[in-house]
Assembly symmetry: C2
């Protein structure tokens, strides 16, 4: 994933291919408390697999008392739960590091919030009875390809403690409708508060294991490392971030913003996978002002904010930054890492008021 020789501001054919097939949420989509399904961000490492839901089974095995196999109707027979969850790609902000890693070239748009419906993973696992010496669960998806020179089905693990949290779901609906294929149909893992790579799509297997999983997506990818040889630390929970709806209207193709003088309500949303949003500030040419916070939508979802800006003609640099209940605040300079992960550098945008 790391490269370090890409030119700032110029993107390669490989990056364009990825940007053309993966998709971000246009930032005006921050207007919706729940993101319309078709503009929720999406990242797929390999291909979207073609799965027949009538023959699909979820296999639960490994270090368990009873290996089990469940069809979709059996999964649906458990008591369902619905949670609003803000999901973000761990690579969001990647192009705002220099030098950048060769991977999906996200700017800021790898986000979305949906209501997900499914069954708590722990309810389903109780049928298989995980043995006491289990340390992790490995989640395997149907998407298959080569990454890091290794042929693989996409797979990630969670410790038992993380996997058994009540909010961790096996999800089969998004925004009140059956999952669309690209979001993991017929069934995906959903791990609220964690970056999106954890929420394995197109789930086919859950395996209890007695040693930490060493799969490529776990042991090599999604780690905050400073060199190619640095084992680094795993990237897990979403770091605090606020984003702003770009005010006014854009030009095409540059997307510079133009707006009319007077009172302008700046709006956006903020979230963290590590604690409640405690504060959002709006920066106007480097001076910070407290924004008003809306009521929370839920413990795993973004929170709306607004700021009344009385403005007159001129060009301004706007920004926003959030602080969560742990005291974490977004940085104003990116902290670099080889894979371009978890970059929650504050958003800045230039606007012209007329």
């Amino acid at each position: 994933m790391a490269d370090g020789e890409l030119t700032d501001g110029l993107y390669t054919e490989e990056e364009l291919q990825l940007a053309a097939r993966n998709r971000g949420m246009p930032l005006e989509g921050l207007a919706y408390e729940l993101t319309p399904t078709g503009i929720h961000y999406l990242l797929v490492h390999f291909d979207i697999p073609l799965i027949d839901p009538t023959t699909w089974r979820l296999e639960i095995g490994g270090n368990v008392e009873r290996a089990i196999s469940l069809g979709l109707d059996e999964i649906r027979s458990f008591t369902p739960t619905t949670i609003a969850v803000t999901m973000e790609c761990a690579g969001n902000g990647r192009t705002r590091m220099s030098p950048r890693a060769l991977s999906q070239p996200w700017i800021l748009e790898a986000i979305g919030t949906a209501e997900w419906t499914g069954v708590p993973l722990r309810d389903v696992l109780s049928r298989a009875a995980i043995k006491p010496d289990t340390v992790e669960l490995v989640f395997t998806g149907a998407d298959h390809g080569v990454q890091g020179d290794i042929e693989q089905d996409y797979a990630r693990s969670l410790t038992i403690d993380d996997a058994l949290r009540p909010e961790v779901l096996l999800a089969y609906e998004m925004n009140g409708r059956q999952l669309e294929p690209q979001h993991g149909a017929p069934l995906r893992l959903l791990v609220p508060g964690w970056y999106g790579m954890t929420s394995v799509k197109w789930l086919t297997r859950v395996d209890a294991v007695t040693e930490a999983f060493q799969g490529w997506q776990q042991a090599v990818a999604y780690r905050d490392t400073q060199t190619e040889d640095d084992p680094g630390v795993p990237v897990q929970r979403i770091k605090v971030r606020a984003l702003m709806i770009p005010p006014g209207f854009p030009d095409f193709p540059a997307r510079h913003r133009l707006l009319d003088a007077g009172m302008v309500t700046l709006r956006g949303r903020a979230w963290s996978g590590r604690g409640e949003i405690a504060r959002v500030e709006v920066g106007i040419d480097g001076r910070w002002h407290d924004a008003r916070l809306d009521d929370p939508l839920g413990p795993f979802a973004w929170r709306g904010w607004s700021y009344e800006w009385k403005t007159k003609a001129g060009t301004y640099e706007l920004s926003c930054r959030a602080t969560d209940a742990t005291g974490d605040v977004q940085p104003i300079e990116a902290r670099w890492n080889t894979q371009g992960l978890a970059n929650n550098l504050v958003q800045t945008l230039s606007v012209t008021v007329r």
Copy 2:
């Protein structure tokens, strides 16, 4: 839109910004006869507007006997019709011209097929009674911005003959559900067989006019021109094209394809806005073979095709090309134009069989 100084194979920040917010259909999505809504291609010139459907009105005026204003319930009270329509962006294939235009950097993925439900435009227009000296209808959307140094609501026109065709709809549902905001909610124009720019989203006005519309999106953009000063010809109906589901599985990030030796069924879909699909051929290292055509899905939708390929280990260049009932066949060299429009150059992809 034209530029001519962009480096082949390297894309600018402006192009990346566009690719990050607009979205193509990953080509494995060709597996679905009807494209899941969330992977249908999407191009938005300005911002997705935020519209309250309860207060929204469609105004029909200009050169009519009776200017009228209709709410969504009134539109829905007309007898609805549902049509499967393949839509393609006029800029699809833009990056495969050299030098390329600075605009949305599509490769091949600006496509999708959906079932659209709405009312024939002509049924609604009959209430307003267009005057006989009308030459065009102008369709205006709510998306607002600056393009070509002109501040504008996105607007396009059709001649009376084109607008009154029975398949031209005012559409409010896509794939059996209310339009999502990004696809033009609450109401969009739908012009089957034409490139997507014609199907104005977020429709607010229809105006009958007695002279040809000179708006920027009509008179300047979406024209096949050879120089900046060339008036050129308007780009209208979709040119014939076939695309193939990339076989086997990919690597990340390069997306080179790997597959196993033996019998491989190559599949894809083909369409034209100018006539039925008459033939699809599959190229293997430059030798062409006839593919089998599936039954048609409808007069305005793509048609499935397949080819049984007995293959052994090696690296191959695959391609596909379609011919429509008018005799048009896809070219094997791109015909250049300044805006990078309507490039139906055959798809090629390299695969390694193991």
